[in-house]
């Protein structure tokens, strides 16, 4: 009896010693990357490919020996598109899991809910959400990989300017994306010598927009039409455009740059132009393109592992992770201030979304040229030059 007790006690002490020894050792041996993404819920089309991309590349990097001789460890929570959950999980990542940096935040809501905590804790954070407010004004610890809608608007207006179009009609949805796109387009148009002569809106759930399009067509001097929105609204606008037989140049935004839009809009989409990630035309790029290799490698890695089409949203996570690793390498460790400085000094990192040039004034680092102008030809995307 006595002996068993003693043995038990000895065992307990050893076990305790082991745990005490392993916890700090593990913490020192791995680089802990925290993430909160909307893997389920209404924004799952963003979070799902993002998480898959992070898991895929963290596995790959670990197989090749990790970063600076350390293995990467992903600590992930699913915020289900709920901003208050995102805040809770960000808090857990910072206080309990003590991560070295965070790559995550699928939606603008989730990102902005977590930003105050992250700023306070002083941990480098790379967001995967689109809105301009995330990095404007610049926040010390916050970076992001997707372009804002301002870059998309600029890219469209740039293309219009090149084609000599100066008077355009704008039709946009009244939802968040459409309303924001309408505002930036109106703000930027003057810089490209373009005048918006007609400005119409529709409800994102509307089933017919021919009245609005007729008004635009009958406006004096209108030379092109831009539809800024995402979801099914643009598919209906595109179908109505074809139905009315309008033959002005037609532009859509990056919001519908996906194959499912082509399916919905059908033949009506023929000839329209939009700004999009080069990922959509990865196989059609010339091999001399600086992004050619990165794009096609990501595409084949993702598609061979998951048996589903690659998406531009997953690419934001790819770029976020690559920027993080580049910064850790440059900082020579995971010292948070050094990693932050290294992120800010990234200049010319070729990613899937574009080529990143960060600075103290710009924590997003992409310009309008990172969007390619694509044209729908024979029911598929084609590059325009």
């Amino acid at each position: 009896m006595k002996r068993t007790l003693k043995q038990l006690a000895a065992g307990a002490v050893t076990a305790l010693g082991l745990t005490l020894a392993t916890v700090p050792a593990q913490a020192a041996d791995t680089i802990r990357i925290g993430s909160f993404l909307s893997v389920t819920g209404p924004a799952s089309f963003l979070g799902d490919p993002e998480l898959k991309t992070l898991e895929l590349y963290i596995d790959k990097i670990n197989e090749r020996g990790g970063v600076l001789g350390k293995q990467l460890e992903l600590i992930h929570y699913d915020d289900a598109g709920d901003a208050s959950k995102a805040r809770t999980f960000a808090n857990r990542l910072l206080r309990q899991d003590r991560v070295d940096l965070i790559v995550g935040g699928s939606t603008t809501g989730a990102t902005m809910a977590a930003v105050p905590l992250i700023q306070q804790a002083g941990v480098p954070f790379i967001s995967l959400a689109g809105a301009e407010t995330i990095t404007t004004p610049v926040k010390k610890w916050v970076f992001k990989t997707p372009q804002s809608d301002r870059q998309a608007a600029r890219r469209i207006l740039m293309d219009m300017e090149e084609r000599g179009l100066t008077k355009i009609g704008l039709i946009s949805g009244t939802g968040g994306f459409g309303a924001s796109g309408r505002n930036v387009t109106k703000e930027e148009a003057g810089n490209f010598g373009i005048e918006i002569v007609a400005d119409e809106t529709y409800n994102p759930k509307d089933t017919d927009t021919t009245a609005q399009l007729t008004r635009i067509r009958n406006t004096d001097g209108v030379q092109a039409i831009l539809n800024f929105d995402f979801g099914q609204g643009p598919a209906i606008v595109t179908r109505n455009y074809a139905q009315l037989g309008i033959d002005l140049p037609f532009y859509q935004s990056h919001g519908v740059a996906s194959d499912s839009f082509l399916e919905l809009a059908g033949d009506a989409a023929e000839g329209l132009r939009l700004p999009a990630s080069a990922l959509l035309v990865a196989d059609k790029l010339p091999e001399s393109d600086p992004q050619y290799e990165v794009l096609n490698r990501y595409k084949s890695d993702y598609e061979s592992r998951y048996d589903e089409s690659v998406s531009t949203f997953g690419a934001y996570a790819y770029d976020g992770l690559q920027l993080a690793i580049q910064a850790i390498n440059k900082a020579g460790g995971t010292d948070k201030a050094k990693v932050r400085d290294a992120l800010e000094s990234i200049d010319g990192a070729v990613g899937v979304t574009g080529t990143y040039r960060m600075s103290a004034e710009d924590h997003m680092g992409l310009d309008a040229e990172s969007f390619r102008i694509l044209q729908v030809e024979d029911g598929d995307w084609a590059l325009t030059e």
Partner: protein
């Protein structure tokens, strides 16, 4: 000038035909039980999405459409058997709330099993649109109007010429008396739910080439259809068509002549005005309060 007016009118007819067809679905259940079935929009969704899912599974469109409509009919009967019938002694407001619950449930099922993507169905006619006086009209709008007219006639004949239709009206007027006359009121109600679901699903298939379809298409179309039905007078088939067209034209003219920003306020202004001056809608039967 005129071509613009024509175009706005055609837009209004397209919208109005869709609303009218949806509004028709509300009349049958309302006539049988005075319940406004807020799951009506979900029957539309089952029709449209069911067709898409079956077509994806390789079923040719000629079989996919009737199958999807039959599926909705079964869903309607199940809705009555599982949710409405057990609460038979509840008052009308409780039953209406049950239908709201059922609509959320059906939408949830569709979201989980059929996904959240939008889908398009092909046009019924090969030519997509026809040109008239400088304006274009979708051929699908004509299909919608034609089928709505057939349904109105059929419903009218059903209520006035068949024993079943008369039994249904009798049940709505006085359930106890109808039951004493040998009418199986529960079976009549079940049939009303089944037929309403079939009408709704048929509408869902016919409008899908224009509106596209997805798991949540029933929310907006169901609501607009209900407004159209209320404008025309709940329970009146002709009123449903009239209300739908009025609503569609009002939306299109507002978007065309005033501003697209105010378009969505129009249905609410119309319904307020009509309910204020004509509480039973344009063609609704005058309610008789018995004291």
């Amino acid at each position: 000038m005129f071509s613009e007016f024509f175009q706005f009118t055609f837009s209004g007819i397209t919208l109005g035909a869709i609303y009218a067809l949806v509004a028709l679905g509300f009349t049958l259940i309302y006539n049988a039980s005075h319940v406004i079935n807020f799951a009506q929009g979900e029957f539309l969704m089952i029709g449209g999405m069911g067709t898409v899912v079956l077509m994806d599974a390789g079923v040719p469109i000629y079989f996919a459409i009737p199958l999807a409509i039959a599926m909705a009919g079964v869903a309607g009967i199940l809705l009555h058997r599982l949710a409405i019938a057990p609460a038979k002694n509840a008052d009308v407001v409780t039953l209406i709330i049950i239908t709201i619950g059922a609509s959320i449930f059906l939408r949830g099922l569709a979201q989980v099993f059929w996904g959240k993507e939008y889908h398009a169905l092909p046009n019924f006619s090969a030519t997509e649109s026809i040109s008239l006086g400088g304006a274009t009209l979708l051929t699908q709008s004509l299909w919608i109007l034609g089928i709505a007219a057939v349904l109105v006639t059929a419903l009218g004949l059903f209520f006035t010429r068949t024993a079943l239709g008369k039994a249904l009206l009798a049940t709505s007027m006085n359930k106890d008396a109808a039951s004493l006359m040998g009418i199986k009121t529960s079976a009549i109600l079940m049939m009303a739910f089944g037929i309403s679901a079939v009408i709704g699903a048929a509408a869902g298939v016919i409008v899908a080439p224009i509106t596209l379809t997805s798991y949540d298409i029933g929310i907006m179309l169901g609501l607009k259809g209900f407004i159209a039905a209320a404008i025309g007078g709940l329970g009146s088939s002709t009123g449903a068509i009239l209300g739908g067209l009025l609503l569609g034209l009002a939306e299109a003219y507002t978007a065309g002549y005033i501003s697209s920003d105010y378009k969505d306020a129009v249905p609410f202004v119309i319904i307020l005005a009509i309910l204020f001056f004509l509480p039973n809608g344009l063609l609704g039967s005058r309610a008789v309060e018995r004291v």
